[in-house]
Symmetry: C2
Subunit: 338 residues, 2 copies
DNA sequence: TTTGGCACTCTCACCGGTCAAGTGCCAGTC
DNA sequence: GACTGGCACTTGACCGGTGAGAGTGCCAAA
């Protein structure tokens, strides 16, 4: 018995099932793939594959469908990432080149990713905490309000309006601005926060309360989860492909898509390279029949954030992985140019 | 024959159908409403109502369901807006009072509106073009870049980074800042644009190219559709209630929800008061079995923007209208306090 | 180890009958 | 003239039975 052929059979089953959405039997499998053996042999192989937990039958006398474990093996060892067609590459390129700012880049990537994969696309905004400060600005508004603007290396602009207890003198504002700038520009945001804390000491005791309150807000802005958590979702209309039963197949996904916290967990840590989580591997109950393909994007040396797609476990993994990878590369490049 | 009773019958049909989601027959209608007449009489009334186009039968020997025209009549003449329960009022209040900025207010209102109505909620960000300028700031960044920040009366903060052809002198930036401030603060944005155009003349011919390019961007920011079009959507999981057929009932709605342009048209012009559009009145093909309840929000004298819900035509109109109205009032008040 | 054959199992689509709900119409009553 | 009770008719939903089709497991033979 050849171990290789059994894997070929598994691959054929996955491919057929993804294409037809129907349990695949030994005979119809041979109609579409030349394995050079008879149906009976395939049946034997299938029995073994089922014993080992890679495929399963919805009911006796039905064909087989892959299990999560089967998809896992397929992704890990049986598939090669499809190359994108030139048309697809061009689509990504033309979609992304017109973008004017970070918001725009994210918006457009969600759209193109959803379109390419026919799935639900998720794109996380470039992380604040992993960027460096490019520019920081402090502006006195009317009354005792101060506007704080931070521009990061990835082009994100964050602003906060701070309500102070007392009005700031113009000279103090100017002084603060230069000192904050000196302390933070070029630094990663977490380190910038540390430097800022030290900086407080250098002010006269009189000014410290005000300075502290500004620095606190600034630090919050740098490290605040809420601002680090921004995420764009698109292509929800593709949920149609997830299955016909709304309550079990579609509703949980829609609910997850509205929960930033869940989305973040799903995208996962921004490790370099493609990550595929299948079924229960997503760690989310409602998503047990979906799979998530994600990838970090960023510059060569620094992952800025993550993007990916959510689709049914019976998806075209090679194509999806190719699309996610390509969009991640383009987005990383686009933001680096900024 | 009493015309009033026929309207009572229509009201009963709408109420029953909304409650049960099933065609209502003459007999079961009398089980739930005391009309003081026999089923046969109700049948006669129903026949007339059907002739007039207010109700229809899915098939012979089925009960009747209201047509769009029937709902229209119901909304216009047969229903009174339900008062919100104290619990609901409290829910809105507690949800909105914690908001820290405009983004937060909008985010939270979408959520609470979706929750209250069990429908898809849409909230437009406060319009830029209808706000006045509260503060405007011009900051020279590194190189020939300039950061422009506009804060409006409704609390929105918009920023743009402008790439100039030449580096600006510090004194020119300062000069520009004060002059732009003088020209625009307190003005409505469209008028501010006009004033800015005039202002260009007051600069020396040397500086005019730079000034023009800044003013242009500023004007674009003020009147740009893209920034005026920001919209938040929530409660898409409630699409479950729209019907069981994904392709005809749910997909079109999801698609519409992803198209800013469509959404804007659906919310409609921000006229004061509640607006209800039923079925084809939405002017959007895919939404022929949905209804949109929307309302402008803002201060007494100025509508800032619109919010509303999208639901199936068979919705509880009085309750939905009450919720939309209440949330609009609260949001208007919250933003006015800002 | 592979293969062909065979008996077996299960789902699904189809069919016909029955049931319940609802209608339209008509003749009778107030 | 408006309302009512009665009746015949229509129709979708439900149910059980049936047959076809697809697929399986197993076994003996190559």
């Amino acid at each position: 018995m050849s171990d290789d052929r059994r894997l070929d059979v598994l691959r054929a089953i996955v491919e057929d099932y993804v294409a037809t959405q129907e349990p695949v039997g030994s005979k119809s499998l041979l109609d579409r793939h030349q394995l050079g053996v008879s149906p009976a042999t395939v049946r034997n192989d299938m029995a073994v594959l089922e014993d080992e937990g890679y495929i399963t039958q919805p009911h006796t006398s039905a064909g087989r469908i892959p299990t999560d474990k089967g998809y896992r093996l397929f992704v890990d060892r049986l598939s090669t990432v499809k190359a994108l067609s030139p048309a697809e590459r061009r689509a990504i390129e033309t979609f992304l080149t017109g973008a004017v700012d970070v918001d725009d880049v994210v918006q457009r990537s969600v759209k193109v990713l959803a379109q390419l994969t026919n799935q639900v696309a998720i794109v996380q905004y470039p992380s604040l905490t992993r960027s460096t400060v490019r520019h920081i600005e402090l502006v006195a508004l009317e009354g005792s309000r101060v506007l704080l603007v931070v521009i990061t290396s990835s082009g994100r602009v964050e602003q906060r309006i701070i309500e102070l207890v007392e009005t700031l003198g113009d000279d103090l504002v100017a002084d603060l601005r230069t000192r904050i700038t000196r302390a933070t520009v070029g630094e990663r945001l977490p380190e910038a926060s540390l430097k800022l804390a030290e900086m407080i000491e250098t002010f006269s005791p009189n000014d410290r309360p005000v300075v502290t309150s500004i620095v606190t807000t600034l630090t919050q802005t740098f490290t605040n989860e809420r601002s680090d958590e921004r995420i764009a979702v698109g292509g929800t209309a593709n949920l149609a492909r997830f299955g016909s039963d709304f309550d079990t197949a579609i509703k949980p996904v829609l609910e997850a898509m509205e929960e930033q916290v869940v989305l973040l967990r799903l995208l996962g840590e921004a490790t370099q390279g493609l990550s595929v989580r299948i079924g229960t591997e997503t760690g989310h109950e409602g998503l047990s029949s979906t799979a998530i393909v994600s990838s970090a994007y960023g510059t060569d040396d620094l992952a800025l954030a993550t993007l990916g797609t959510v689709g049914p476990t019976r998806m075209d993994y090679p194509a999806t992985m190719a699309a996610v990878g390509a969009v991640a590369r383009y987005v990383g490049r686009t933001l680096a140019d900024n």
